[in-house]
Amino acid sequence: MEAEQRALTGWGRTAPTVASVVSATADEIIADAGLGSVSGQRGIIARGLGRSYGDPAQNGGGSVITLEPGSDPIRIDAGNGLAHVDAGVSLDMLLRHIVPLGWFVPVTPGTRFVTVGGAVASDIHGKNHHADGSFGAHCTSMQILLADGSHRTITPESDSDLWWATIGGMGLTGLITSVSFTLIPIESRFCTVDTYRVPTLDELIEKMEASDHLYRYTVAWIDLVATGKNLGRSVLSMGNHSTLDDLVELAPKAVADPLDFDPPTFPDIPSQPLNVWTRPAVRAFNELWYRKTPNHHHGTESLTGFFHPLDMASQWTRLYGRHGFLQYQFVVPFEAIDTMRTIITKISEEGHASFLAVLKRMGDESGGLLSFPKPGWTLTYDLPAGINGLGPWLAELDELVLDVGGRHYLAKDALATPAVISAGYPRLDEWKAIRRSVDPDGVWASDQARRLDLL
């Protein structure tokens, strides 16, 4: 296996470190007498498509393994709707394979460009979290290469501790090589969507509380630069997979070939030296986005348009300039909605402009010891990293979040301190103990694990 010294960052393009990067199939790694040739003093971490925002998929001075899909990477069991997928397979590749067969992934984040291994390691969630839970909740078994060189098949029943330490475990328990999970049957490549323009935060909260249960997928985009009477104005979108009956009514042309799936991509956005998303630019963009939404629209949207709109503009993050950006995501319990109000007000009035801000209600925990989702409200917003004074300001938000029993998402984190993470994840010590039992010599390590004292 050829190793290449390369500087790596996360999707936010901050805090680069140099590691020895190996790209190979699971079989090649397993055949390599365990992990001898890639594991040094600094350990190994797996890296999928590098969509984590901070440093969980980088390992300064150590090894980083990118798993290539094997010779038969996707096997679908049509009888019970079960998919057996190599960990290096992206949701993009998977969806191109399964949508024409009438299946959809149980959970998708806002991009198709994540791997199945990453989906398990971050226990990702999507617009259906309130209804279906996170990715880990749909997994039935997986294969994992452990620190001792053994390659094992585990299930929640066979290895309960290791399983729940691995779901959301940021790749620090072993190298996930393949995953089995249940799929959702679909009749078309469309979603039937109700979109509402919502003028105030209070109305938004009320509407989401009242109608979340009527839809499988819901999310609200919030204008976080609007203040005063427009504070918290939003575009709320709620949808379900379109049935053939929906298509007859709403998109009759698609009835002939309802499962034809070929998502478009447009040319790369060129590198920008400076952040394009200044406050006036965001204000103009948000105004336009809000105004173009009718008070209520009922219609169909393509899977890409509904789930992965940003995938159409690859490298869109370059608009944040050379200092890169970060995404701040936290969850607070339902009963702490006032804290969410306070934070949204604070960001809108004092914060830095963000064009990507979404609010979502989450459902049950999956059981992963380091899984992020838990019942409550989650807010996600982007902000450029090259701004002085942002650190102390975000530390104030951290405190508000932790005070009400909230926590921060490790897949987005690029900034937290060990104290912030241990306060948000009460089962961290339990997780550490399980991790040490399967990896006593520290074969698995990442920059994030060092920064947050996870090992």
Binding site: Q5, A7, G12, T14, A15, P16, T17, V18, A19, Q41, R42, G54, D55, N59, G60, G61, G62, H323, G324, L326, A385, G386, L390, G391, P392, A395, A414, L415, A416, T417, D447, Q448, R450, R451
Partner: protein
């Protein structure tokens, strides 16, 4: 590990009693900062850095810049005890007394600290940063090394050597994730220069610190403090010898 704002968790200062280094540590401190290791000559008073958050732990360890053979193990031990070194500041150095330009023994000893010590400890730091795949080595050089003056050419020559070493080391580390930032302050009002007559463009340790923080953000390889000295010395390097000697009177 550095976070997304390039805020360090661990800082090692070689020359732990340096006023300038203390100002840099203060400038780089944030809620992310956990440990500051001050490496300094054994004996002497305990070192305090006022103005740091309470949560930061300050650790003092004995360090001898002239014990070249010890430096590799020294840096390795600090990293073993305190984790990855995000920023290492090389801040030790002496000006030398009144006789430094004529006393061969004193001058040799000065070169051993300011130059040879900078080289051996610099290589030890580089070795560590390379193996961790990240980290910035901040080397406090001086404009005195840009063109040596008749009145302090021994000191100036040691800084010239250190500066050349640091910039060369920076090039050699390209692609490893480790970086070197060479800092060239002018006259800085500090304990080291107390009682001396101020030179033009004199500044305070805090000015050097903010130039360093700015340089780190912009990933610069050389920083001048104050910034205009870069242009001043661009001209002074070209001034004919007789005028240069006249200016130094």
């Amino acid at each position: 590990m550095m976070n997304a704002f390039d805020q360090p968790q661990t800082i090692l200062v070689l020359g732990g009693r340096s006023d300038i280094a203390h100002a840099i540590v203060r400038e780089l401190s944030s809620s992310a900062l956990q440990t500051v290791v001050l490496a300094q000559r054994a004996g002497g008073a305990r070192t305090a850095i006022p103005g740091l958050p309470d949560a930061v732990s300050i650790v003092e360890v004995d360090f001898d810049a002239t014990d070249h053979a010890s430096h590799l193990a020294f840096v390795e031990q600090v990293a073993a005890d305190h984790g990855d070194l995000d920023i290492v500041i090389q801040a030790f150095g002496q000006l030398g007394g009144d006789t430094i330009n004529t006393d061969a023994e004193l001058a040799g000893a000065l070169a051993d600290v300011n130059y040879a010590g900078a080289v051996s400890s610099g290589l030890a730091v580089a070795d560590r940063l390379k193996r961790q795949g990240h980290g910035v080595f901040v080397v406090l050089s001086s404009v005195a090394g840009m063109r040596t003056r008749p009145s302090n050419f021994v000191y100036g020559s040691t800084k010239a050597g250190q500066d050349a070493f640091a910039t060369g080391l920076g090039h050699s580390l390209h692609g490893t994730g480790a970086r070197v930032m060479t800092v060239r302050p002018g006259f800085v009002r500090s304990a080291m220069t107390e009682g001396m007559e101020e030179a033009p463009f004199a500044c305070d340790p805090s000015d050097v610190a903010s130039a360093v923080a700015d340089g780190l953000r912009k990933k610069k390889s050389v920083v001048w403090a104050p910034g205009k000295l870069r242009y001043v010395f661009g001209v002074l390097k070209l001034v004919p010898g007789p005028i240069w000697r006249f200016l130094d009177r």
